[in-house]
Subunit: 342 residues, 4 copies
């Protein structure tokens, strides 16, 4: 089997990361690479770390360019995926790394993204209850946002096991690659090095409804999420510190048991030994998720913390993992659980 894959939006960070992973994937052959504003440029000027693709040139994102592939990865700005996807045939596996098909509630989409809702595709976070079977054999995949990946994996076991009250508080730190490659003053190295800063405070971040959707589904009731993202002085990684009030009578043992059970068979989620806490460096470039959980008895809260690489498990690794499921491959094919550290 040789799966032929195209990447639309190959010049950005998500596009570069999916190419990095596909180059190491034993079943995939890389086809068209497209990128509108960079069409005509050599990939090695834009992604100099992808040495095996050094000679390749970007073309425009047209139906013709994307035609003839088994899989098309869309790494496009929010709102642009639907128009490209509808020109691709129903037999092509389309993996959208943008936000367009993640949300189920059209009102949520319109409030946070300001354009008509395009629809909802199977959600590419196989570790969530019920998600894996929806991905198997699917021809359309909505890759989760990076923050929702980290937060949902940290908290869903507590909610699925009814251990926590329905009001979650999340503070997450993200590396700067999560903000993309379009140059903006606040993303300059001079600004971000040596600085921590919040943004989208007070419920304004677009990833909030996605977290609420995931956690509410796991809980069987509406979960509210107070989400504060912060920009950290590192290129990659998300550390999500999540907590919720423990339900009456919940013990530390019960919490730990719920997490151990939730992740027992998961190839990518690693519940750390007691007393050890996640670090983003440990999952740098890896599809692994480090999770730890504890009951703060004094404050009466379940505290769950996860670390992921926002570009790998948080975007392109999650996309390839879901692609594997959709194609009937072993879910771990081509994906590593080994971080590049230190």
């Amino acid at each position: 089997m040789a799966v032929r894959a195209a990447v639309a939006g190959a010049s950005g960070y998500a596009g570069g990361e999916v190419l990095r992973l596909l180059l190491a994937h034993p079943e995939v052959e890389i086809g068209a690479l497209t990128g509108n504003s960079n069409a005509g440029q050599r990939l090695d000027a834009l992604q100099p770390h992808l040495l095996p693709l050094a000679g390749r040139v970007l073309t425009e994102t047209t139906p013709e360019a994307l035609d003839g592939h088994d899989v098309v990865f869309l790494a496009l700005p929010h709102g642009q995926s639907a128009a490209v996807a509808e020109r691709l045939g129903p037999d092509v596996l389309v993996v959208d790394m943008g936000a367009d098909f993640r949300l189920k509630d059209p009102a949520d989409w319109e409030r946070f993204y300001g354009s008509p809702h395009a629809g909802t595709w199977p959600y590419g976070l196989p570790e969530l209850p019920g998600a894996r079977s929806a991905l198997e054999g699917s021809k359309r995949i909505a890759v989760p946002g990076c923050y929702p990946t980290a937060v949902s994996l940290a908290l869903f076991p507590a909610y699925a096991a009814h251990l926590a009250e329905p009001e979650a508080v999340v503070v997450a730190a993200s590396g700067t690659s999560g903000a993309g490659k379009a140059p903006k003053p606040h993303l300059l190295g001079s600004e971000v090095m040596g600085s921590m800063s919040p943004y989208g405070v007070g419920g304004g971040h677009r990833h909030t409804p996605e977290m609420i959707q995931n956690l509410s589904a796991a809980a069987g009731e509406r979960i509210s999420v107070s989400f504060t993202p912060t920009l950290a002085p590192m290129p990659r990684g998300i550390l999500a510190t999540c907590s919720a009030k423990a339900r009456p009578g919940v013990t530390g043992e019960a919490v730990r048991a719920a997490y151990a059970k939730a992740f027992a068979d998961e190839p990518f989620v690693h519940l750390l030994p007691e007393g050890q806490w996640p670090a983003t460096a440990s999952v740098h470039g890896s599809n692994a998720v480090q999770v730890q959980v504890a009951l703060d008895e004094s404050a009466g809260r379940v505290i769950a913390i996860s670390a992921i690489d926002n570009l790998t498990k948080g975007t392109a690794g999650g996309a390839v993992q879901s692609m594997n499921l959709a194609l009937g491959l072993d879910e771990t094919t081509g994906l590593s659980t080994i971080g590049v550290a230190p």
Copy 2:
């Protein structure tokens, strides 16, 4: 007036920072510099950024060395200040930058520090209700911890104005200098660059009882604090993201008004214009505190975020500010509100 100041523990980060500030203080003359394990070494090998002190040599921390000064700053490991302080006369102003005299409850001290409680001194956070007057003319000052400084300033106005429920959730990111200069593997540059990691999770951090003490005093009732500190890849700075459930009927306007009133006359605390959020880079090397607050209506929480320099306002700047009050000087003497950015 020429205030003669000694620094015990001049080779560490807190000691170096207080020297940096005292060198710029118009009323202070720097006297003895002591440091036990480094006694006999030149200061410029240990603190090469303090050029005006390049020729000075550290001596041992003895009563004789510290004798004859108007002010003695103690930058010693926790538990060592009491023994030094009791050998200093009652007319000497002793400013303890360690934890020894911060906590009022001996049981809290013993639980978190594991040794007998030495006592409680006036608390060097003048912005807290009632704190300033206790510092004026005092001969003993307990400088707050860096995290409690950031967290107490972010949250006390909400509690003093009875706007929030008594359960606070705090996630704070700190630069590595907060962990001190003693070399440990997890503090190596190779480990911290590119990584965010939590520690002391679940109520275990020694600064938690200090936050509870401050916020409970402001609220007039017991406030619980769920505190998660994280280590960030930067040398300096604390970003404290704090929240608590809003009391019924509380509006965004009421929240903002309470903060505006709390900080109206404070020379070092700056409530940012609406929509602008703190960044640690903005207060790098400065005694200023950036604060912003908002009501997350969807999650029903008051979210208050502060940024400080952990070594300046969080340690040595707070110490000098309190020294100024104790000596009857203008509180801002020798202290800057200008950050070194970018």
Copy 3:
């Protein structure tokens, strides 16, 4: 005396740094702040670290706005200073932090900057032989480039004392603020963190002729400079590693003696004790220069290394130092030799 100073280009890094220093200058009162593309914006949105100027608003760079000041600092893109300067009266002290008036040879200017040469002003590096007297009382000052400041101070004593052959090799690492605040993809935090990269290799950097000009003047003969700048993952600082073949018979003692003599009376240049080498962190935010020199006997080369803060001594601090000389103030007024470290 109250010197009234305007800053044209107050929104960029050089403009922000000169404001940071002028705020601490006891003889200066800050007047107009201008910035064309940002005219009308609040300064605190652009320079949030300059708390004392939080309420100020930028105006357009017009003759009227700059009128009525004793000193005008120009922090403008290269090639724009001449047009502004000629509208300012001959009694106004004009300090150009751009490149326009640095080079003596019009051909050098035209080759590297591609526009007509505007002229040559007294050169604001007082430590160079003869430079100080030309600045005293001057009404026009050309502030040196950041790299030429670091390299000229590292090498001129060797050339002035005829200790080295006339072919210098320089490799310098600069923090990203040297590249300015205009957002470009290669300056994104995601790109620069964790990466070292050269640019302008092979004689192409605009600062090369300025180094040659300075070193040739000190040597009394033409010095060639092979200059390779590299971008380092830090916001501030230049480390310049410079070397040249030692002339026959030159000893390590002679080299050290020449440097000790050259900097004996310099308030800002610190020749480190033998065996200690410069670090950019030690001069962070300071106007100090750390220099060390050694004779590599095996390779037969004089190796001189300097560390400066590119924005302070390398730009705005050097500008204020020269302003002090031009105004007849003590050269060190308002300038610190203390770094903000760690």
Copy 4:
């Protein structure tokens, strides 16, 4: 075929990196993991990024522990390899990642390492003239130092083609992992972030004789090297900026042609397109080497710059590449030329 490999010194950075690579190597099975001071500890506490080895425990470095393996990697402090190696049989492939067997001249060894010379093994830099054939089938391999790898690859083509004068000047920046995992104050994150600093200046670095050995062999004459290493604020990567005076009549075309020829068939060395320069981020975690070269006509120098990952191609990747040759495997087995960027 299943090659059974042991790693002595598995808790350090070189040991961790060779394990990271061996885990991805299709022909290798990981056997004993030893580490004296950490014997008895779980690997996941020491190397939390190596998830597939999470349950493994370190044993002591004894002959018994290392017995029964096809390959033994030694990641030990300098001077300790010989004692371990002599207890391993002649049929075992021993790959020494320390310095013990790199230098040919016993006097060089003794001068720089201060102990008796243990001998010289085939040198694991296959790209050097003649090196590859010496490695094929060998049972002993001396892995080069990280700086010599970067510098030798950048300069040997110029010397092999007699394009440059025999006096090379090298300034290299290294990430902090090159200094190892033993905690020392100057390697703390607080010290290295935001700072560039040189060390071992003036010929004192132990890697200098190794560079001289390699370049002299390529040139057929004695090459002197003035080498200045600098510590850069990043965990990984070496950028080596190397230059030498061009021989009379040498053209830019001749220089480029020599490099193109030298690397034409090399799987890991990539001569960049003209005008593009290396960046360490592009080879992060990869075994690739980026090289660029230019003739600075104004200064008359050949300037060659290389970027490597000091832990991968500079240590453990080079070790695995040489192991492949020694075992008769394809040289590139298990090694990637794709960097983890941004």
